[in-house]
């Protein structure tokens, strides 16, 4: 890499989808570049003048001319707020792909259990799309998805499709049913989806992404089902400025979340102070 390490590629906003009141999905088409990535990798998105922030790539790795990112707007977000103000036709900068991604090719022949909470689903969507594209390489593929309310669920069209698909077992739950919504599915924390689940523990690899508060409970459920710590994979969030292992913000012990992660096996991170501080 030359000193374009920091120079973003140009991408044009092609489509904006309102997922929830606070989350939008942006389809970003590259002006010149081809973009190849592995599921679970992330990229830095720039709004020049406002700044740059990391987002996981939520689209299929089979597509190389555009990517999708899903962005939750935070009140203090110096980048997420202007991102939410974008219109179709506007330009953003993209740097990446960055990080390691999920080693899905190592999981061939195994059962895959994806556990996603809330805004964690975008971090595993690329993986789910990859698994479905390479369906015959894997045994059971299961998605457990939990959100606060039905309205807080992202990718509602995908979820309908996946629920109807014979290729994936898709189970959803919401923490609470709001009065206004017509949710007639499961209500309860994501851990309540585990009980009826039949899992071949030693043959299963778990992919777990969500708010950090759910981790200890999901780990306990996975262990209960016989899944080892070495077969649980997490995608972590961290404050990040450079994305190339130099700025120092995302460090955890000897690990840089941006270079060595964002995907970690549970046994690599379970004792780290920075990981534990979030849970």
């Amino acid at each position: 890499m030359a000193h374009d390490d920091y120079i973003p590629m140009h991408a044009r906003v092609e489509e904006i989808t309102d997922e929830t009141p606070t989350e939008k999905t942006f389809t970003l088409k590259f002006v010149q570049d081809e973009f190849h990535f592995r599921p679970g990798q992330f990229c830095m998105i720039s709004i020049l003048g406002a700044g740059e922030a990391p987002f996981c790539i939520a689209s299929s790795p089979a597509q190389t001319d555009a990517i999708q990112v899903t962005v939750r707007r935070y009140a203090q977000g110096t980048v997420t707020s202007p991102l939410h103000g974008l219109q179709v036709g506007d330009y953003v900068g993209v740097r990446g792909p960055m990080g390691n991604g999920f080693p899905l090719e190592e999981f061939t022949g195994r059962d895959i259990l994806v556990v996603a909470g809330g805004i964690g689903l975008p971090a595993v969507r690329a993986s789910i799309l990859y698994l479905l594209d390479h369906r015959s390489d894997y045994r059971e593929v299961t998605l457990l998805y939990g959100a606060r309310t039905a309205a807080d669920r992202v990718y509602k069209d995908d979820l309908v499709r996946w629920e109807q698909s014979p290729d994936i077992v898709c189970m959803q739950t919401v923490d609470m049913k709001a009065e206004a919504d017509d949710w007639d599915g499961h209500v309860g924390l994501i851990t309540t989806l585990f009980e009826p689940l039949e899992v071949d523990g030693p043959q299963t690899t778990a992919i777990i992404v969500g708010p950090a508060v759910m981790y200890p409970f999901v780990v306990a459920e996975c262990r209960q089902k016989g899944i080892t710590d070495e077969d649980m994979y997490f995608s972590l969030e961290a404050h990040m400025k450079c994305g190339v292992g130099k700025c120092g913000h995302c460090t955890m012990k000897d690990k840089y979340v941006c270079l060595d992660g964002p995907v970690f096996r549970y046994d690599e991170i379970r004792d780290l102070e920075e990981f534990r501080s979030g849970i």
Partner: protein, 359 residues
């Protein structure tokens, strides 16, 4: 006949030697004294501006390799088309004259971090490739805060990392040229130099031994502290004690020549133009690990003190690269309001009561 290992330069010829550097046309950066008496490395136009008799500079000359603030690129937002992006101009060729061995050792750490450890930081590399390092070794501690002798070869004489090194020995300098960039300097100085006799090397060695054994603090506890942190058996109470004295001001890391952390941000000039910059940051500041959600991974002074110390003495340095992430320059001792510079921290964490035997 082989080239001599080193040369003799008479002490009174040093200003003449430095004067000749201007002929090379590079920007010359050298120690200068401020009105307040601090020494800072600044660009100089004449030898008269240089402070030859100094301890060490308050701010390390690594600032010319890793500036406190630098432009990554400038942008111009345009209607309809993608923004125009302009990378910065390459830096000038520079000679850094008078770098103390501790700062030379720091540059070796930075080279490892920014160049040898992938991915290469192109802006650092570009600056590094355009600089000639002329080291000025110490015959005695440059200040009472110095502890380079405890930091595995950081000083008081540099073992490597320089293009040219001048070691004061009595009335002369022993001059060593280590690289092609150094050879370029040697050619400028040819008539001022004489091949150094073996005895001069022996005299420097004796002087070095004497200084390490008699003039420096004998033991900064660094090696013992490194064993403790690499074994991860420091009791959390040690960090709480250190944290209690930390003001989270970041001064230690701002002055530390080995610290590399930075922030990236956009600085708009006007509605359509601006720059993306990087700017020195500090892991001792409370917001260093704050995420958009508001979560802060290292929210206490104790956790940040632990991280800072582990990073230097263990994680990034000793475990991965087998060298120290501290060069003993002593600037953290000068800067710290809470009087918890590196030697104090090391002394504290190696106390027997702070050894943790069980995880």
């Amino acid at each position: 006949m082989d080239d001599p290992k080193g040369y003799t330069l008479r002490a009174e010829d040093l200003p003449t030697a430095v004067e000749r550097l201007f002929a090379l046309g590079d920007e010359l950066i050298a120690p200068t004294a401020t009105q307040q008496g601090d020494v800072l490395f600044e660009p100089v136009q004449s030898v008269d501006e240089i402070e030859f008799s100094f301890g060490n500079a308050l701010v390390s000359p690594v600032q010319y390799l890793m500036p406190a603030k630098e432009v990554l690129f400038e942008y111009h937002l345009r209607p309809v088309q993608p923004p125009e992006i302009t990378p910065p101009e390459p830096p000038p060729e520079r000679i850094l004259f008078g770098i103390r061995p501790c700062d030379i050792a720091a540059i070796e750490c930075l080279d490892q971090f920014f160049i040898e450890r992938e991915p290469v930081d192109a802006l650092y590399q570009q600056r590094r490739e355009r600089v000639t390092l002329i080291a000025l070794a110490c015959a005695e501690p440059a200040a009472d805060t110095c502890f380079c002798s405890c930091c595995e070869g950081s000083g008081p004489v540099a073992e490597s990392g320089y293009d040219v090194q001048l070691s004061p020995v009595g009335e002369v300098y022993l001059v060593e040229f280590a690289t092609d960039r150094g050879e370029r300097i040697r050619q400028q100085w040819q008539d001022l130099l004489a091949p150094a006799p073996e005895e001069l090397f022996a005299a420097r060695e004796a002087q070095l031994r004497y200084a390490i054994e008699n003039l420096f603090e004998p033991d900064s506890n660094l090696a013992a502290a490194i064993r403790r942190v690499t074994g991860d058996n420091v009791d959390p109470r040690a960090w709480r004690e250190i944290g209690a004295d930390c003001y989270s001001c970041g001064a230690c890391s701002y002055l530390c020549p080995v610290c590399t952390c930075y922030d990236v941000m956009d600085v708009p000039y006007d509605e359509s133009r601006g720059a993306r910059i990087r700017r020195v940051d500090s892991c001792r500041l409370g917001g260093f690990t704050r995420e958009a959600t508001g979560h802060v991974a290292r929210s206490t002074e104790a956790s940040r003190a632990r991280w800072y110390t582990y990073h230097k003495l263990s994680h990034d340095y000793h475990e991965q690269r087998n060298n120290y992430g501290c060069v003993g320059c002593g600037r953290c001792i000068i800067a710290c309001l809470g009087q918890i510079g590196m030697p104090t921290v090391c002394r504290l964490i190696r106390q027997p009561e702070y050894e943790r035997t069980e995880q």
